[in-house]
């Protein structure tokens, strides 16, 4: 476009000079020139002030892109900006945000949030560090072999994620011709029904893999699939996440990491730092205090005894054929009525082996019948003798 033409004293003003100014102000195509109020030197007034006295809309400013889309609009509704809006780092004070206006979807993963998983960090292995396939491995994490599968499971303190104490290692010799459940956890929802959840795990493999692992979430019935994700893993830890909504009527969900049938034989996988949070955004792992981590595990499994005299009952029988009872109080109330297991041949005197029975959510009893009157006793002599209490909802 041509700039406006300056008219010097004594020059004749040509119509085109004036018309360009008029055309520019009227918005005639090709007649406008940039407005450059860059040399104003005025301490009192703004370089540019625009006010529309029409009271209903107060349309003061409308700045558009070349395609006609919005850049800046200022009117009675406030200021609207086109996208993207780039602001100087640190320039937006928290008070500028309306209260309760940041939704879950806007959160970054490093915003700490409470996890609904138990032992999401794979730190607690009460059943031992080399559990069998088929059954519970790390506390609350379950496994189940697919057809013809061969998988080793162990607690691993070498291949852990950053800052972690332990992870779960899976050596997949044969993934099975049907899926092998490597790490599954059934989560009690309580009143948290019908919500959107995001489950995430940190996983790496000994070599990059494509489509050999799958995350899959099931609803309360254990069979209705809520969502699934087939994974491509690398040799460094990556976060994999799955978002799903549980049924409004169920009281639990199940998060399962499993093999894809016939895929990935000979690979090892390391799994660490899982989270299950309410909302559509995954959350980075936030470790629990060890006391809280263990306490949550104890709701489902605990052991008592396991060392000399850690359980020791000694009493006096005043009559024969009287069954005596010793109370056992659990460290944590159980999720459901638990299975009780007495392991080992305990040392007894004047009575038979104690029987571990009558569980409630918080207590059980050791019972025995003395062989005669007088003092009788039973106790754990060493590490081979202990009790387990287990409740898996």
């Amino acid at each position: 476009m041509s700039p406006f033409v300056r008219v010097n004293p004594g020059d004749l003003i040509q119509a085109q000079n004036l018309n360009q100014v008029v055309g520019s102000l009227n918005g005639t195509s090709g007649q406008g020139v940039p407005v450059a109020q860059t040399s104003v030197n005025d301490a009192s007034n703004y370089a540019v002030s625009v006010q529309n006295l029409e009271a209903t809309n107060s349309r003061a400013l409308n700045v558009l892109k070349s395609d006609g889309s919005l850049l800046i609009r200022a009117d009675v509704n406030g200021v609207n900006l086109g996208t993207p809006v780039t602001m100087v780092a640190g320039s937006l004070a928290g008070t500028a945000l309306a209260n309760a206006s940041v939704t879950n979807a806007k959160l970054a993963s490093d915003v700490g949030r409470a996890s609904l998983l138990t032992n999401g960090g794979f730190e607690v292995w009460q059943r031992g560090n080399n559990p069998p396939l088929n059954g519970y491995t790390a506390d609350r994490w379950n496994s189940s072999a697919g057809t013809s599968a061969s998988v080793s499971i162990s607690k691993d303190t070498t291949n852990v994620d950053v800052g972690s104490g332990a992870c779960a290692a899976f050596g997949v010799s044969n993934p099975g011709t049907t899926p092998t459940l490597l790490a599954g956890q059934t989560v009690e929802l309580g009143a948290w029904r019908g919500l959107t959840y995001t489950w995430s795990m940190r996983i790496k493999s000994d070599a990059a893999t494509t489509g050999v692992l799958q995350m899959i979430a099931f609803d309360a019935d254990g069979t209705t699939q809520l969502a699934s994700l087939t994974l491509n893993t690398t040799t460094t830890y990556q976060t994999y996440s799955l978002t799903f909504t549980s049924a409004a009527t169920g009281n639990k969900i199940s998060c399962n990491l499993r093999t894809v049938p016939n895929q990935g034989a000979g690979r090892s996988h390391y799994v660490d730092n899982a989270m299950l949070v309410v909302g559509s955004q995954a959350a980075d792992y936030v470790p629990m205090h060890p006391a809280d981590d263990l306490a949550r595990c104890l709701r489902y499994y605990e052991t008592l005894g396991g060392a000399a005299n850690t359980i020791h009952v000694r009493a006096y029988a005043g009559d024969v054929n009287i069954t005596t009872f010793g109370p056992i109080v659990f460290a944590a109330k159980k999720a459901v009525t638990p299975t009780l297991t007495k392991v080992g041949t305990w040392t007894v005197s004047g009575c038979g082996q104690p029987v571990f029975d009558s569980p409630t959510l918080g207590t059980a009893r050791l019972s025995t019948t003395p062989t005669g009157t007088g003092v009788f006793a039973y106790f754990t002599p060493d590490a081979t003798c202990y009790l387990t209490i287990e409740a898996n909802p």
């Binding site: 059943r127 559990p131 638990p338 299975t339 297991t341 392991v343 029987v355 571990f356 029975d357 409740a391």
Partner: protein, 120 residues
């Protein structure tokens, strides 16, 4: 998880003691060796069954709700009631199998609440 039955298809039943220290082990048990616990008055308690590990003699007292292994334990209670009746007197060994299953399901609901039943 405990000492529990993994295969009911033939007698003796196959059992596993999966959280045994030193590693899980397996074996078989005669179904008739699985008995109810005893109440203080000497009667049998139909809410619990005891399974003894054939390898290490560890004994697991399973609640009818299922405890550590709901599906297996509930199946065990159903088969036990179908074969032996229930000590409470509500089910006889000669009753139809469905009656035993209904009785056990009622026990499960009473112990752990609705939603705990795992058998189809």
């Amino acid at each position: 998880m405990s000492v529990y039955v993994t295969d009911f298809s033939a007698s003796p039943w196959e059992v596993v003691h999966d959280d045994a220290r030193g590693g899980a082990h397996e074996g078989t048990v005669d179904p008739t060796s699985i008995v109810h616990t005893t109440n203080m008055d000497g009667s049998e308690n139909h809410d619990f069954l005891v399974v003894v590990c054939p390898v290490c003699q560890a004994s697991s007292t399973h609640p009818v709700g299922g405890g550590a292994q709901a599906a297996s334990v509930q199946q065990m209670f159903v088969l036990h009631a179908q074969t032996n009746g229930c000590p409470c007197g509500q089910v006889a060994a000669t009753d139809p199998d469905a009656l035993a299953e209904s009785h056990v399901r009622l026990q499960v609901n009473r112990q752990d609440g609705p939603g705990r039943w795992q058998l189809s």
